[in-house]
C-alpha cells in the first residue's frame, strides 16, 4: 500500500534525513515537536508540523498517545520512528498498527524478540550464529564459573546502561546490584546476565534489509570501535579488520540472524570481533542506525528509501550490494572531550559546515540553535567517501578542519586528531582506542588566536551578559574581567 503522508516521530538530524528522502519519493511529511523545538530545523524540514507538548521527552517524543493524535490530526498514513525515543518500542509499533497506520519498521513481535537481549542470545545460538560465551543468569556462582573478567549486562536494553566489567569474584555481588539498579532505571527491567569479557574487541556490525517476501539482503559491514561510554563516535565502512573470507562468513551470519526472526525493514546485527578474527553476536538493532550514511555512501543505497519501499510492500530485488571505496563518519556531539565528555549545552553562536567532493553532513542544528539538556547532544554527523581508506582519512581531517562550531564544546577537534593519528591510520581500532589515545588539546599558535580574538567584532562576546554593542574591540569589555 503506498504511503501518502509520513509522520516522522523524531527530531534533530534523523528527522531531517528521513524527510529528505520522503520528499524525493513524493511523500508528504509531518514533523512533531516539543516546546523546546518549536523553531528547530526539523520542523521546517517537513511540510506540516504538530506540537506534542512540553520539552521533557516523556511529555513529547515518548508520549505514544500524543504521537498517535498528531498522526490523526495531520492525516498521516504512516509513521517513521527514526532512532532512539520509541524506535525500538514494540508497544508503540503495535499502537501505530492498531490505529490503521503503516509502521516503518519490523513487526512488533520482532522488536520484542530482539529487544530482550537474553532471548535474542538464545535465538541466535539456536540459529547457529556465534554468541559470546555467557550465562543467562544472575546467579553469582554460575557467573563465576565462566572465569573472569566478565561483563554483566542488562537483559532489557543496550547503550552501555546496566553494564559492568567485573575482574574478580569479590566485586561480583556489588556489580550485579549496581547493574540491576541501573537497568531498572533505564529500561524498567532489572534483569541482568553475564558474558565472558572479550578483551580489546572491535565492534563490527552488518546492515541488513528484509522485505515482506522473505528476502534478506545485506549491505556489508561497518566498524564502530571508537567509542566513549560504549557510545560510538567514529564509524567506517568497510572494516579495516576483515579479509574477504571473514567478511563473507560475517555477513552470512548476519543474514542468518535476520532470517531467524523473520526480519522486515532495515536492521543492524552487531558483533564483537576479537584479535583472532572470531566474531560473536552482540545484539540486533531493529531500526535505522545513526551511522547508516557510511553504508549509503559505499553502496549507493538510500536506506531510508528502502525502509519506505519495504513498508509499502515492495520487493528488495537484490540480496547484496558490493561496497565501493571507503567511508568514515564522525559524530559531532556537544560534549567536552578534555573534561571527560562533560555535556556542553548552550547556544550555537557560529556554525559553518564543510563542503566538497565526497563530503556529506547530516545536521540537526543551525546557527542560533539552543542545545539543551533534554535530548541527545548529537549536533551533526560529518561523513566522507573516498576511493580508499587513506584518502577517506585525509578527506575527513580536511572536512573537520573546515567545520566551525562555537558556543558549545564539541568532539570535532578530538575526532580530527583521532582520524589523523598513526594508530587509526594503521587500523588499530579497538573499543579501548580513546583510552589509549589519551587526548588533550595540543598547543596552538597562541599569538594568532590572541590576535584574532582582539580583532574580532564583539557582537557575540556579550553572551556573558553585557548586552549588544557596536564596539569594535573586545577590549571595550575588558572591565568585567578585571
Amino acid at each position: 500500500m503506498p504511503i501518502q503522508r509520513l509522520l516522522i516521530a523524531n527530531r534533530g538530524e534523523i528527522a531531517i534525513r528521513v524527510a529528505r528522502t520522503a520528499r524525493e519519493m513524493g511523500i508528504a511529511t509531518v514533523a512533531v515537536y516539543s516546546d523546546a523545538d518549536a523553531d528547530a530545523p526539523h520542523v521546517r524540514a517537513c511540510d506540516t508540523a504538530v506540537r506534542l507538548g512540553p520539552a521533557p521527552p516523556a511529555e513529547s517524543y515518548l508520549a505514544v498517545d500524543r504521537l498517535l493524535a498528531a498522526a490523526r490530526v495531520s492525516g498521516a498514513d504512516a509513521v517513521h520512528p527514526g532512532y532512539g525515543f520509541l524506535a525500538e518500542n514494540a508497544a508503540f509499533a503495535q499502537a501505530v498498527l492498531d490505529a490503521g497506520l503503516t509502521w516503518v519498521g519490523p513487526a512488533p513481535a520482532v522488536i520484542t524478540a530482539m529487544g530482550d537481549k537474553v532471548g535474542a542470545r538464545q535465538r541466535m545460538r539456536a540459529a547457529g550464529v556465534p554468541v559470546v560465551p555467557g550465562v543467562e543468569s544472575d546467579d553469582p556462582a554460575t557467573i563465576a564459573a565462566l572465569g573472569f573478567p566478565v561483563l554483566v549486562k542488562a537483559a532489557g536494553g543496550g547503550g552501555g546502561k546496566g553494564m559492568r566489567r567485573v575482574d574478580a569474584v569479590e566485586a561480583l555481588a556489588e556489580a550485579l546490584a549496581e547493574a540491576r539498579s541501573e537497568a531498572t532505571t533505564a529500561f524498567g527491567d532489572g534483569r541482568v546476565y553475564a558474558e565472558r569479557l572479550v578483551e580489546r574487541p572491535r565492534h563490527v556490525e552488518v546492515q541488513v534489509l528484509g522485505d515482506t517476501f522473505g528476502t534478506i539482503a545485506h549491505l556489508g559491514e561497518r566498524e564502530c570501535s571508537i567509542q566513549r561510554r560504549h557510545q560510538k563516535l567514529v564509524e567506517e565502512a568497510p572494516s579495516p579488520a576483515l579479509d574477504a573470507a571473514t567478511r563473507a562468513r560475517f555477513c552470512a551470519a548476519a543474514v542468518e540472524a535476520a532470517r531467524a526472526v523473520g526480519y522486515t525493514g532495515a536492521g543492524t546485527v552487531e558483533f564483537l570481533l576479537d584479535a583472532e578474527g572470531h566474531f560473536y553476536f552482540l545484539e540486533m538493532n531493529t531500526r535505522i542506525q545513526v551511522e547508516h550514511p557510511i553504508t549509503e555512501l559505499v553502496t549507493g543505497v538510500d536506506i531510508v528509501r528502502e525502509q519506505l519501499r519495504i513498508a509499502m510492500g515492495q520487493a528488495l530485488g537484490y540480496t547484496e550490494v558490493p561496497a565501493r571505496g571507503h567511508a568514515i563518519e564522525c559524530r559531532i556531539v556537544a560534549e567536552d572531550p578534555s573534561r571527560g565528555f562533560l555535556p556542553s549545552p548552550g547556544r550555537i553562536a557560529r556554525w559553518r559546515l564543510p563542503v566538497g567532493p565526497g563530503v556529506r553532513v547530516d545536521a540537526g542544528v543551525e546557527e542560533g540553535s539552543e542545545v539543551g539538556l533534554f535530548y541527545d547532544p548529537l549536533l551533526a554527523k560529518v561523513i566522507v567517501h573516498a576511493p580508499d581508506r587513506a584518502a577517506a582519512c585525509a578527506r575527513m581531517v580536511n572536512a573537520l578542519a573546515d567545520l566551525v562550531v562555537l558556543g558549545v564544546d564539541t568532539t570535532a577537534e578530538l575526532l580530527m586528531d583521532v582520524v589523523a593519528s598513526a594508530p587509526f591510520a594503521a587500523g588499530d581500532t579497538t573499543t579501548d582506542f580513546l583510552e589509549r589515545f589519551a587526548w588533550s588539546p595540543p598547543d596552538v599558535d597562541a599569538a594568532a588566536y590572541a590576535a584574532a580574538w582582539r580583532a574580532a567584532p564583539v557582537v557575540t562576546a556579550i553572551a556573558h551578559g553585557a548586552g549588544p554593542t557596536a564596539e569594535p574591540s573586545p577590549w571595550a569589555t575588558l572591565g568585567r574581567w578585571r
Partner: protein, 156 residues
C-alpha cells in the same frame, strides 16, 4: 576610553599564556614582509597570519576557532596563568546528587567535592585547589545553575 590596545596585558589561550600585543609569527623575522595585521571580514570572521599562512579565524565570546581547533582566550592579570578559583560551580544546569565534604575538611586539588546530574549523567565537581572547605551551599536534590557557588575552598 583611550586606545585600549595600549593596555599591557597578557592573554591565556587554552593553557598557554602570551602577550596580548604580540603579532602572530611568520612576518617578524628579518627580511620577511611586515607583520600582517588581522583583517576583519564582512561575515565577522578574521584573517590572521598563522606561521606565514593566512587563515580564517572565527570568534564567538571567548572562543576562537582556527583550522578546526577551538581555544578560549582570556585576559590574564599580571601575566601568569589565571589565579586558582576558590569556588566550585556546576558547568551546566544540574541537580545535586551527593555532597562529599563538610566545612572544615582539608581537601586536595582534584578531590571530588560534589556530584551533580545533568542529561542523565552524573558528574563529579572537583576541588580547583588544595585547601580547607569554608562553606558548603549545595544540598542533595537541589537544582543548581552555572555561577552558583556550591562549595568554597580556601587555600591554607
Amino acid at each position: 576610553m583611550g586606545d585600549a590596545r595600549e593596555v599591557a596585558v597578557k592573554v591565556q589561550v587554552g593553557h598557554q599564556v602570551v602577550d596580548s600585543d604580540v603579532v602572530a609569527p611568520g612576518g617578524v623575522a628579518g627580511g620577511s614582509p611586515p607583520p600582517q595585521e588581522p583583517q576583519r571580514r564582512p561575515d565577522g570572521s578574521v584573517l590572521v597570519n598563522v606561521g606565514g599562512i593566512v587563515r580564517t579565524a572565527f570568534v564567538a565570546g571567548d572562543q576562537v576557532s582556527i583550522g578546526g581547533r577551538v581555544r578560549r582566550v582570556r585576559p590574564v592579570a599580571g601575566g601568569s596563568a589565571a589565579p586558582l578559583p576558590t569556588t566550585v560551580t556546576p558547568p551546566m544546569p544540574a541537580t545535586v546528587v551527593k555532597v562529599l565534604v563538610a566545612v572544615g575538611d582539608t581537601v586536595e586539588a582534584g578531590q571530588k567535592l560534589v556530584t551533580v546530574a545533568a542529561m542523565k549523567m552524573e558528574t563529579a565537581l572537583r576541588s580547583p585547589r588544595a585547601g580547607v572547605v569554608t562553606a558548603v551551599r549545595a544540598v542533595p536534590g537541589q537544582q543548581v545553575r552555572p555561577g552558583e557557588e556550591l562549595v568554597v575552598v580556601e587555600g591554607t
